[in-house]
């Protein structure tokens, strides 16, 4: 297992972590200032600054991407919705190419309309079928342009609105069905926040192997957790066994970045961005 205590060369910043404090160009500046070598930006943050401008800034600073957030949200109420989702995923893939991302992270979606409280249907098996078909269709284009797709299993508490793929096992079943040769075109983004509780986690990480582990995200699970979406903790402030899980991931062959992704309405989004980044750096050394 790599020693993270001496430097933060394997730290990546998911830019949602300071999305309330800064626009993306400032975030990149602040990362460069701290020798943070990689980021994973969100599409709306990129759009707010401009795709070409962000690409240029990345080239100028030498900062690379550890992923691009996000594609997915495949289920839809009707055929027009499916078509729109596929076009949107193509565009995400194209943007990821422009930015030199190693993968597009897929938050696959679930009951269409559930995010606004009005699901078009409640048949989660149907949503799972639509997700499977949507990934298959997106993968066809992604293969053509050479952009890997990383399915992110989300915590079961987000199964209704955000993702109906909620375990690593389920994500890997989809990978095996759509990319049985393990070509590298399809894999998973493993976020410990979503999967830390899973009794099959170690086994499924071993099953995934380096070929499927395209991204690794860290934060922490707080006691108590006060919100189902935006109450993630800084690494070291919760109960997740970060080093143990990273050990499993590295035993499986993963040697990439540990990407810090913290949605925290009540705490970290309220603090100065400088403090957040400095804490990410120090906790990456001590707790990840």
């Amino acid at each position: 297992m790599r020693d993270f205590s001496q430097d933060h060369r394997w730290l990546s910043l998911n830019t949602a972590t300071v999305r309330k404090q800064w626009k993306l160009d400032r975030i990149i500046e602040e990362c460069a200032r701290r020798d943070i070598r990689a980021i994973s930006p969100w599409r709306d943050q990129v759009a707010a600054v401009g795709l070409e401008k962000v690409a240029r800034q990345l080239r100028d600073t030498g900062i690379v991407l550890s992923g691009y957030c996000r594609g997915g949200f495949f289920p839809a109420a009707d055929a027009a919705g499916h078509q729109a989702a596929l076009l949107d995923n193509r565009q995400a893939i194209d943007e990821a190419k422009t930015l030199g991302a190693p993968c597009v992270v897929l938050v696959v979606g679930s009951l269409p309309g559930a995010l606004t409280g009005k699901p078009a249907y409640t048949d989660i098996a149907r949503a799972r079928t639509e997700v499977f078909d949507g990934i298959a269709a997106a993968l066809e284009y992604a293969r053509q342009v050479g952009m890997p797709l990383a399915i992110e299993p989300l915590h079961p508490m987000q199964a209704a609105e955000r993702a109906c793929v909620n375990t690593l096992e389920h994500a890997l079943d989809i990978c095996d069905a759509l990319d049985p040769q393990q070509t590298g075109a399809l894999g998973v983004a493993l976020d410990i926040y979503h999967v830390w509780w899973d009794p099959k986690l170690q086994q499924q990480i071993a099953r995934a192997g380096a070929a499927r582990l395209l991204a690794y995200h860290v934060c922490d699970w707080l006691l108590p957790t006060r919100d189902l979406l935006n109450d993630r903790g800084m690494m070291g402030d919760g109960v997740v066994e970060l080093k143990k899980i990273r050990g499993w991931v590295e035993d499986a062959g993963y040697q990439g970045y540990s990407e810090v992704e913290i949605f925290s309405e009540l705490d970290w989004w309220q603090r100065p961005g400088e403090e957040v980044l400095d804490t990410c750096v120090s906790r990456h050394r001590s707790a990840v």
Copy 2:
């Protein structure tokens, strides 16, 4: 599949559903008034009225139990804690006998101290080992007195504080290890709130079969869910496919009660108890 639309003979009330409105003796009266034939009371509610008095009231009204809540919370910081947990489980089993319960529901516990924000350790695998050993020890006594134990897998969002058994598959693995002959001494309490999201749910319900399905709990998953513990919905107000899941459960051979268990700080605990019970009755007919 049984027709629930004509009457509510298979409705049971988990008495936590109106715990903020009434003491248990009043709850039993109100159930009797509505021909609710079964309840599942919590130990603290029983203690507040008195075990013998509750037993007598049940005999007088003819109301039976569909379960007794709860045993469990096996992990502990030290040997004294383990001993106390085992004694407490014995007592729960004895109380359940006195009340004629068909099973004691086990909320198995997880990181000791996590409920108060101060976990004695964060090794969830250790908690799972302690849970396994705790169930084995409690089962020995439960077998002697003839009281089945029902492991309740809790939603993964409660994995840190309340239960480190978070999938039906995991619960059934424990059952198979400790009661391979399916004697009826060990099974599961299946609460749809905790398991509805699971892509393996149908498969694992079939695996469970009538021998393991000792209790079936219903409520609903709300959009949005505003709290990780106490924001459950009334059946029909959320996205859970209640009839589909009950179909699976009955296909597996379950013919017992559908027990309504709603923890709802923001809604149902604020309403008059009469309204809550009347709504349980009508929704049991229309939505369960």
